[in-house]
Amino acid sequence: MATVEERIKQVVSSVLNVPEDEVKSEHSFSVDLGAESIQSVELVAAFEEEFDIDMDEDEALQVQTVGAAVDFISKVMKEQGKL
């Protein structure tokens, strides 16, 4: 079973069209991975679909890096009984 981090990287790769092995935890979505504002919104939606969670948009869009997304999504999954 893929880890949360692996699944996040798969989603990022799919949405941002970046090879999965080039997505690193320290990467910023916007600066390093080229996500523009619409793609950031799309990423939030894709994460919600992947993990079957509901994220607060304000909080989710504050998350800047892949690593921070792992922490944030893991927290939301625990709160919503998905982990």
Binding site: Q10, V11, S14, I38, E42, A45, A46, E49, E50, L61
Partner: protein, 429 residues
């Protein structure tokens, strides 16, 4: 000694607001624009100043700040003679007196007004508008009158031409006042224009009155290469920046409009600056339609157009029905609306090459053929505040609470479509 006339209170009430979504989410139904004036203004022009109104509880706080009379004050429903008027009635060419015999005026099966004496009110003992109307219908004689009572958003658009003509007659003053440049032209009867003192019509602008009157309110500027066909009304401080303003159009105050508009109502404080077509549509306040935003108002098979009303496809009965766009919605460049599209309030819509879905829930984003949550309520309210601030209008705390309330009541329909479209993002493994 002459007896003093008893007080005859006029109270305007709203009902049927759900069928008028999205253009009634943030305003009472009687604040809809039809012709140059709002439905309420027509009622007051006909019957005199209102003494109060009754609206949904959620609207009361915000609208107490905007209206000159009490909102939802139950003390108005007793202690004096009373005429209750349905805020969905279009008081154009209407002969109803404020005073007169006790009766219920009906248009088909819609109540237009109920006129009751203080003694009858006391005897009926009802404390709410709904209660009074129900009791009055049983107790008082009914009179059928020829008045349009709008039920759906397209009804407001269909009633617009006659309302413009009636508003033009009510203005009284016709002809060119204001600044009418050499090289500007009136095609047709020159007495069928009302150009206010501070309005300007620039060279090469054409006002065509062959099909009806044209009203240009105070501060309107009609820039070169604009053609305006009557019947059309343009509200104060609006700029027409080139293009074709076709017949049967009302543009409210403080708008910037170009491109092509036909048989539509733009409520006010909205922009459609660039090319693109808006037809048989109602756009609310603080709407911004990006360049080349276009709606269809006619199906290729000329059949009548259906529109989603409260989740159900409802036949408009007309083959010419466009889009209904809620307040504060913004579209990006090249956004296309299908015939009979319903767009909620405070949406952010980006064209994706083809027509958007026929129903877009309030507060959604649309992009890449997907309805999404977007950046959330907070950022949409901040954008609304910024847009209003640019025109010197404050978004009050009460306005914000009304937006939050509307967000909650539209959550279920929005979440359902967001979850549905989110599946398109499933990672294929």
């Amino acid at each position: 000694m002459k007896e003093q006339e008893s007080v005859m209170r006029l109270c305007i009430y709203e009902d049927g607001y759900e069928n008028l979504y999205p253009i009634s989410y943030l305003r009472p139904v009687f604040e809809l624009r039809c012709g140059r004036t709002l439905l309420r203004e027509k009622i007051e022009r006909s019957l005199g100043p209102a003494d109060g109104c009754f609206v949904r509880d959620a609207l009361a706080a915000a609208w107490r700040e905007k209206l000159a009379f009490p909102v939802n004050d139950p003390s108005l429903l007793s202690g004096a003679d009373l005429i209750l008027v349905n805020g969905r009635a279009v008081f154009a060419n209407v002969e109803i007196d404020r005073r007169g015999p006790e009766q219920v005026g009906m248009s088909g099966d819609e109540v237009v007004y109920a006129r009751l004496n203080a003694a009858t009110l006391q005897k009926l003992g009802e404390k709410t508008v709904g209660g009074i109307l129900e009791a009055a219908a049983k107790a008082l004689p009914a009179r059928q009158i020829d008045v349009t009572v709008v039920k759906f958003p397209w009804d407001v658009v269909f009633a617009n031409p006659a309302a413009i003509e009636d508003d033009f007659r009510a203005l009284g003053a016709t002809g060119r006042s204001g600044k009418f440049a050499d090289g500007a032209y009136i095609y047709g009867d020159e007495s069928q224009v009302h150009i206010a003192d501070s309005a300007e019509v620039h060279p090469t602008a054409v006002l065509d009155t062959t099909h009806g009157p044209i009203i240009l309110d105070e501060g309107v500027i009609v820039y070169p290469h604009t053609r305006v066909e009557g019947p059309t009304s343009v509200g104060r401080d609006t700029l027409l920046v080139g293009g074709k303003i076709r017949e049967e159009t009302t543009i409210g105050p403080v708008c910037r409009v170009g491109g092509e508009v036909e048989a539509s109502i733009i409520h006010g404080y909205s922009n459609k600056y660039h090319d693109g077509f808006l037809g048989h549509a109602y756009a609310g306040e603080w709407v911004n339609l990006g360049a080349l935003t276009t709606n269809s108002d006619l199906k290729n098979d000329y059949s009548s157009v259906s529109v989603y009303i409260n989740g159900k496809l409802t036949d408009s009965g007309s083959m010419k029905t466009g889009a209904f766009i809620g307040d504060h919605t913004k579209t990006g460049i090249g956004t296309f609306f299908n015939t009979g599209t319903m767009v909620g309030v405070m949406c952010n819509l980006l064209g994706s090459g083809g027509p958007l879905p026929k129903f877009l829930p309030s507060f959604c984003w649309y992009f890449n053929e997907m309805i999404a949550k977007g950046t959330g309520l907070r950022s949409l309210i901040d954008t609304a505040r910024a847009a209003m601030g640019r025109r010197g209008v404050e978004l009050t705390d009460a306005d914000e609470e009304l937006m939050k309330y509307t967000y909650e009541i539209t959550k279920e329909e929005r979440d359902k479509l967001v979850k549905r479209d989110r599946r398109k993002l499933r990672v294929r493994r």
